[in-house]
């Protein structure tokens, strides 16, 4: 078993969804039940693979290094190889993906958004899954880039075909923003290839090979990556595609977007930009930190100004990703651990909130908070779940959200030695203020939608009912994980910490000459 997983454990779950999609392509559109079953079976098998990988990963007990490494030739002429592997940073995110996608299939089982067509919808979902899992597994820059882009098209169609009123605008905006970033990112990857000592796209070798690049070039190359990843995160001021995309996307699209797609950006920083170009990262860090705290405050203020529930959750994403980026900008192992935890927690919590927003929309046919109210009266269980998720989102200790935010704030008290302490401490104060605002807008949202009595127009509406079986099935795993990770965060930190330390080893170990975050080396 172990040997099989080592060889095929990553390739099979990566490409299984696309095989499932190909099978669905051959089946006529009107056999909807069959399509749903194929999609569910495929995603569940992928999730089971995820579980096996997890067990084997724990058994291997080597969290810091890459597990299940596959290294085969792919495009020889450009020295790009098919290299896959996961460590403690990528495995949690990959498992999150493998978990979320089947839940999305279950959630949409009986209510596909207009214009229906489950065949096309589920096929796009499966292609998306391949792209997302592949991105987290790829250990070659070009392979990473390809998977990173594979995600774009299905999401574009998902928003554009199944989205809301303004879907065409939102879909193309999403696409163009991301494409702009990734085009420059690709130029950066190429520059890295040619400037580094070894001509390679292998992410395992590049940290060492890129050390010799002149600092001024490093700063430029990092800039291209910053745009590529920063737009995907999205960081202020590139965030404007996010509220539109989220608001217009169908529920499942929003969930995937929030839970996984945004993480591709932050993951890129943690996995690629910082380990490969630490010196440039140190130059950029204060700027990234600044944009991160602006994002925190701006996102929170944006939330307070929303009338639309889904848009509010979207802006809260901007704020939460601000915390993640702040953690990354500290360039400490502590901060980056917090960031990885924040990614997973945000995926679980915000994914849940988008599920809830979708369910509210389905019952009330509106997300206008001034028309909502009394969810606790009409659908008490759903109301409590919303309350639970709001609490998790505002960072209540004991729930997962806390471990994303609090350590990030703490880490900015003591950033890497090369960074100015005063700057990051002031960021810390601003970020702390952000948590207060977060509590403000989430409680306000809860008050508007869950508390009070239902509006007259909905008081006797038969459409408004409590959560259904498929909703419970889709939500239960997320809710349980939010609680479990909140109570016992070591489950995740235990896996991420060795990997983070390993990815920064070039920089943290002050005994070597490559100790770029060391105060003496930096100044």
């Amino acid at each position: 078993m172990g040997e099989f997983l080592n060889d095929w454990g990553l390739s099979i779950p990566t490409f299984l969804p696309i095989i499932g999609a190909a099978v669905m392509l051959l089946i006529p559109k009107d056999r909807e039940q069959l399509h749903k079953l194929i999609a569910l079976a495929t995603t569940v098998v992928v999730a089971v693979f995820g579980l096996l990988l997890l067990i084997q990963f724990i058994d291997n007990d080597n969290y810091g290094a890459l597990n299940f490494v596959v290294d085969k030739g792919w495009i020889d002429v450009i020295d790009s190889r098919y290299i896959m592997g996961v460590d403690g940073i990528s495995l949690p995110l990959m498992l999150l993906t493998m978990l979320i996608v089947p839940l999305c299939v279950i959630y949409s089982w009986n209510h596909f958004p207009e214009p229906h067509n489950p065949k096309a919808f589920l096929m796009l979902l499966l292609i998306l899954e391949t792209g997302m899992i592949g991105t987290f597994a790829a250990q070659d820059l070009i392979l990473f880039f390809v998977f990173f882009e594979v995600v774009l098209l299905p999401m574009y169609f998902m928003i554009g075909v199944w989205g809301g009123e303004n879907r065409r605008y939102a879909a193309i905006k999403f696409f163009l923003f991301t494409l702009f970033g990734s085009a420059l990112m690709l130029v950066s990857f190429l520059a890295l290839y040619f400037l580094a000592d070894a001509s390679t796209f292998d992410m395992r070798l590049l940290p060492e090979a890129a050390a010799g690049i002149a600092k001024s070039s490093q700063v430029w190359v990092f800039g291209g990556m910053f745009l590529g990843f920063g737009i995907k995160v999205p960081m202020f001021p590139f965030h404007t595609w996010l509220p539109d995309a989220h608001t217009e996307a169908p529920t499942v699209g929003s969930v995937i977007l929030a839970a996984v797609l945004l993480k591709l950006g932050t993951y890129g920083f943690v996995r690629i930009a910082i380990p490969i170009l630490p010196e440039a990262a140190a130059e950029w860090a204060p700027f990234i930190g600044l944009l991160a705290v602006i994002g925190i405050i701006y996102g929170a203020l944006g939330c307070l100004a929303q009338r639309d529930l889904k848009r509010l959750v979207a802006f809260s994403s901007v704020a939460h990703m601000g915390f993640v980026m702040l953690g990354i900008a500290t360039l400490t192992d502590f901060g980056i651990n917090a960031a990885v935890f924040g990614m997973v927690a945000h995926g679980l919590i915000t994914g849940m909130l988008f599920f809830l927003a979708g369910s509210v929309k389905e019952r009330y046919h509106t997300l206008d908070m001034s028309r909502l109210g009394g969810l606790l009266v009409q659908a008490p269980r759903m109301g409590w779940i919303l309350g639970f998720c709001a609490m998790a989102s505002l960072g209540l200790p004991g729930l997962a959200g806390f471990w994303g935010e609090f350590p990030a704030i703490l880490a900015s008290y003591n950033p890497a030695a090369v960074l100015a302490e005063e700057t990051f401490r002031s960021y810390m104060v601003i970020a702390a203020l952000g948590t207060v605002l977060a509590a403000g807008y989430l409680l306000w949202m809860l008050q508007k939608t869950a508390f009070g009595t239902p509006r007259e127009e909905f008081a006797n509406d038969p459409h408004v009912h409590d959560a259904t079986v498929s909703e419970y099935m889709a939500w239960a795993p997320l809710l349980i994980l939010i609680l479990v990770l909140g109570v016992y965060p070591h489950l995740l930190f235990g896996a991420t910490d060795p990997a983070v330390i390993n990815s920064l080893s070039e920089c943290l170990d002050s005994s070597t000459s490559g100790a770029c975050f060391d105060a003496a080396a930096g100044k």
């Binding site: 390809v146 163009l176 494409l179 690709l186 130029v187 190429l190």
Partner: protein, 499 residues
């Protein structure tokens, strides 16, 4: 008495390697048979012509395969005609492209009641010109090849005699083409005057050592500009939209892919075999052409309402991408050549595919308006998916073939490691985003919009030859994207053999 003639004028018959010229001769033979068929069988011959042309093209592939298997570089006529890897891969491409164009034309020509024999006869002659171009390493041979491929194309563009638009297309193409030929010929005469020889190797020796000689600079510029017309590079692209719109759509596909590729073949030979020592002249010129083409083509394409005109301007922009590696050719050498060949091959697959869809859809809508694609997904989902594959491939989205073509271009210009190279990379990056906008506009029409009220929404019937063309091009587009080694296996290290 005739046998005595050579000895009188001192003419020695050059050695002819029949194997090396077999592809050209096959095409010549098939073209002659197609024409004879018309004379002998008259109307009865019409039904066989397209099949004969198609089979003839496939037969012409056989000597190319045997030549490739043989692997030696063959030279004839003192190096004026060379068969090397570079020539073979492009000859194969021209023939496969022509075969797909025949597939596209079969129903179009038969149902439009056009003359079939002439149509295919002219097309075969143009293909012969292209195949010859891939081997031409001599100014006169290049010129003959160019005219051999251009003159039939002028006629084909005006094939729909009753339609004034088609007449305009043919006339405009003809006038602009002749104008370009004249400029090029003038440039060639300047270069010949300097070198005293028409072979590119001799030209190369002559121009390398003549630093600031304005005659050399002018000659190089004129020759390159002449081919800039052929590849529809800005600002010499003006004929393309009108010609593309007015010509029969299969001919448009032929012009947009094969004819453009022939222009690039000539440019590559000139840059690598003719002026390798003068990158100080051709690099800035090609840089300007590349940046101008990709930017202007894109910006004008944004405003197009007609799908064929959109494809014309997109073709201008794509030409800019193909020119880009040549603008750093002197700095990085062979890498740029592989990048251009990769791009030309991948572009052929995806662009032909897009035209196949346009032809298939026009059979229903009888319209070239982008609006007529509204709601295609509702009644022709397969066609919509395939068209999306081609459009997003043209835009360069992985894992479709176009990404690798664009990637190879980026790689080449970044590798140059010069200000010119990096600025070209940044401009190309921005342009690939702009291009996405108009490709996505067509995709949006097909996927997101509702079907117009009056439209016929019964499922679309596609003739088998078009299905075959779509299948081939779509499979190639996906294969090149997922496994680029399928193409780099042939193009990597392909160099123009220098005598």
């Amino acid at each position: 008495m005739l046998s005595a003639l050579p000895s009188i004028v001192g003419f020695v018959r050059p050695d002819i390697d029949w194997h090396a010229v077999a592809p050209e001769l096959t095409l010549l033979g098939v073209g002659a048979v197609v024409t004879l068929l018309d004379i002998v069988l008259l109307e009865r011959g019409r039904a066989y012509t397209s099949a004969l042309a198609g089979i003839g093209l496939l037969v012409a592939l056989i000597p190319i395969v045997t030549l490739a298997a043989d692997g030696t570089t063959r030279e004839m006529f003192g190096g004026a005609f060379v068969v090397d890897d570079f020539a073979l891969i492009l000859k194969a491409m021209f023939i496969v492209v022509a075969y797909i164009v025949v597939l596209l034309s079969t129903n179009y020509v038969a149902e439009g009641d056009y003359w079939e024999n002439e149509y295919y006869g002219l097309m075969l002659s143009a293909v012969m010109g292209m195949v010859l171009m891939a081997s031409a390493r001599d100014l006169v041979t290049i010129f003959v090849a160019l005219e051999l491929l251009s003159i039939p194309a002028y006629l084909l563009a005006a094939w729909r005699k009753a339609d004034p638009k088609s007449n305009e297309a043919g006339l405009k193409y003809y006038l602009m083409g002749v104008f370009a030929s004249a400029i090029m010929l003038y440039g060639m005469s300047l270069l010949f005057g300097l070198a005293g020889d028409t072979r590119l190797s001799a030209i190369s020796d002559a121009v390398s050592g003549s630093d600031a000689n304005p005659v050399v600079i002018l000659g190089i510029i004129f020759v390159i500009v002449g081919f800039a017309f052929k590849v529809s590079g800005f600002p010499f692209h003006m004929w393309a939209p009108d010609t593309y719109e007015g010509a029969p759509t299969p001919v448009t596909a032929f012009l947009a892919v094969a004819s453009k590729a022939a222009g690039f073949v000539a440019l590559m030979q000139l840059v690598y075999a003719g002026f390798p020592g003068r990158d100080d002249v051709y690099q800035p010129l090609l840089w300007i052409l590349a940046v101008g083409s990709m930017t202007a083509g894109n910006l004008i394409a944004l405003r197009q309402e007609n799908i064929v005109r959109l494809m014309a301007y997109s073709g201008v922009s794509q030409a800019g991408f193909m020119l880009a590696p040549l603008a750093v050719a002197g700095d990085i050498g062979g890498e740029a050549l592989s990048a251009v060949i990769n791009y030309v091959l991948i572009y052929a697959a995806m662009n032909l595919g897009a035209f196949a869809v346009i032809i298939a859809v026009a059979r229903r809508t009888a319209s070239g308006e982008i609006r007529s694609y509204a709601g295609l997904f509702k009644y022709a989902p397969g066609m919509t998916v395939v068209m999306s594959v081609f459009l997003f491939s043209l835009a360069g989205i992985p894992p479709l073939g176009g990404w690798f073509a664009k990637f190879a271009v980026f790689r080449a210009v970044v590798e140059a490691d010069t200000g010119w190279g990096y600025s070209l990379a940044a401009i190309a990056a921005v342009n690939s985003v702009i291009a996405m906008f108009y490709y996505a506009k067509v995709a949006r029409m097909m996927w997101f919009e509702d079907v117009p009220e009056e439209a016929d929404t019964s499922s679309l019937r596609v003739p088998p030859s078009l299905v075959a063309a779509l299948g081939l091009t779509a499979a190639a587009t996906l294969l090149f994207g997922i496994y680029p080694a399928a193409i780099t296996h042939f193009t990597d290290g392909t160099l123009i053999a220098l005598p």
